[in-house]
Symmetry: C2
Subunit: 363 residues, 2 copies
């Protein structure tokens, strides 16, 4: 099969690898239907994070189960599933508390110890704790407006579903962590796919004013479509001044979807006392001042998003019912062979998020 392998800065290659097989009775294998490139894949691509040459890459996928281990009960061959970016055992304290993205026995796809999702097939360990079974959700028949079966999925629906493997669940984690409530004003840092999904999530949770920090017109346009009421292109002091001008004394909730020191430092300054910063951007050089946050009662919450929990709680129904279209963050579609170009285009900000069409639902 074809699989994407990371070799070094600006060097990812699609290579021939063996089709994966069941290794443990809790595993399953999927034929990948759609995958994509993540903003966080760009950290090693830009060599801001260390990855070894020869490491599989990619952690977002949806597809059809081809084979299951003897112990798997979460899905059967032929089922359409979402494979969230975290591998989670389903049994530990983290998984039981709904934080399976910090599983004590798991890991993440696309790394030295797991396979990458930018491939034709994917080996999924701990299947019962990891996958979201879409076929099963449809079979329950209680979602108004949902397609009858996965073979009826449009390209748009497939894109929307794919975002539940990471970016939509991650944006939602930013909003939940920031404790967005109805009537709130929220500020969203990051106009990449996650930040845009953060805007959509703040809207879902009832924010009535949503300030998106963006200086790219294509991204700002999607932010507005997702519910942003104000676009702020300024950075640093000027950004703080602008948010204060818009809000009076700071926003009720702050979503930090970048992870850079610059973004985080600005995020720390735009919330009103008692605001919580919901952070989902992988931290790079971030410092959290213990005193300044204390006296203003500023909370810091977040981390890798428990996207499976959110999909099962709410987001899968919202997507299947056609209520939200987070797949709008995909602005260009590539074939699997074209993944290196997809990276280059995302790196250069020519596309917001690159969709990779690997196969169709029926093969």
């Amino acid at each position: 099969m074809k699989s994407t392998i990371y070799y070094g800065p600006h060097d990812v290659r699609v290579e021939e690898r063996p089709i994966p097989t069941i290794k443990n009775p809790g595993d399953l294998i999927i034929r990948v239907v759609r995958t994509c490139v993540c903003g966080s894949d760009l950290w090693p691509y830009r060599s801001q994070d260390a990855n070894s040459a020869g490491t599989p890459i990619g952690h977002e996928s949806i597809g059809v189960v081809t084979e299951i281990g003897a112990d798997v009960t979460a899905a059967k061959p032929g089922d359409f599933v979402i494979v969230p970016f975290p591998i989670s055992c389903g049994e530990c304290a983290a998984c039981k508390a709904g934080f399976e993205s910090s599983c004590l026995n798991g890991g993440y796809f696309g790394g030295a110890e797991s396979e990458g999702c930018q491939s034709e097939y994917l080996h999924v360990p701990h299947a019962d704790g990891t996958v979201v079974n879409v076929s099963e959700a449809l079979a329950a028949g209680d979602i108004p407006g949902a397609p009858a079966s996965p073979k009826d999925f449009t390209d748009e629906m497939l894109s929307d579903l794919l975002t539940l493997s990471d970016v939509m669940g991650t944006g939602y984690h930013a909003a939940v962590s920031a404790e967005v409530k109805p009537g709130y004003t929220a500020v969203v840092f990051g106009d990449g796919a996650v930040g845009l999904c953060g805007v959509l999530s703040a809207k879902l949770l009832g924010a009535t004013r949503i300030i998106a920090m963006s200086r790219h017109e294509d991204r700002a346009a999607i932010a507005r479509e997702f519910g942003a009421t104000d676009i702020v292109p300024e950075r640093d002091d000027a950004a703080v001044a602008r948010v204060m001008e818009l809000t009076g004394s700071g926003a009720d909730a702050v979503l930090e979807c970048v992870g850079s020191a610059q973004s985080f430092n600005t995020a720390l300054r735009v919330g009103r006392p008692g605001a919580v910063i919901g952070r989902v951007g992988l931290p790079h050089g971030v410092q959290i001042p213990a005193d300044a946050t204390f006296y203003r009662n500023i909370g810091i919450k977040g981390g890798p998003a428990p996207v499976r929990t959110y999909a099962r709680q709410r987001l899968l129904r919202e997507v299947l019912a056609g209520n939200i279209h987070p797949g709008r963050v995909f602005t260009k579609t590539y074939a699997l062979d074209e993944v290196p170009q997809a990276y280059a285009d995302m790196d250069a900000r020519r596309v917001i998020k690159a969709l990779v069409k690997v196969s169709e639902v029926e093969g």
Copy 2:
């Protein structure tokens, strides 16, 4: 009147000062009935914080209103009130959001710019946003078991009410910030009055297992009375190991009621993934690691406690109904002239919290 003034390390004095008068139409004056010494007063007393010589000290009091400014509607002369430690305007974004302890126009009692509570009378600015009117709560007549009027308050009730000016509300803020929920296991750092009130608060919020970190038998006894199920005397690595032994993979909620680097660093390590550290100890040398907290989805929330909000939401009713007795943290009673001895006794840990009897409800 007599008033306690800070002069330097281990030097507080009770001196004669003029009885305060109304300065602005929003002010009121109380005759202090009870006040006390706070663990946070010990920071300057031990010269770990800088306070100028000649600064009034003390920020916890209850008493009877003697005079009000023309604009005050929250209380009238003769009313019995709690004066929380924060001065809060009641109008800003912080106050409106229920975080009046981070008021944008306020401050705290016992400092260079306000009067101290360890006095016979106290000047209260921003009275409408600051005081909790106990007489008014009683007059509503809907609290089962409550005394008919303040003149019926026992010494025990007065002690319980006094804790609502700071320590009980602060312990409650730790528990609320740590997001304690029914059935949770909570770990409480700090066996001073605030930590003990944190134990009581975790119990109020439904925690079923409460681990109190304490190595002092007198404090551990009160912790048990307040709901602690386990006492852990260890510190640092040994404390982490013990909590892990008791909980399996860490506690669901962590209350940090000390503020030292040692306590905070241990607190960071004893929560399960997704746990929130509710911190109320004034930070002294605390560092918050941005990466380690991120990958484990550890939240950090808290700050100066909005004790007025909590008193009005729930705690005043619980005290007036006799459901809780946070005043048990007072282990010795002093006259106002004896305040220097009260500091010395708290500093030496001879008492947990020093109560100061200034006058009686009826004068």
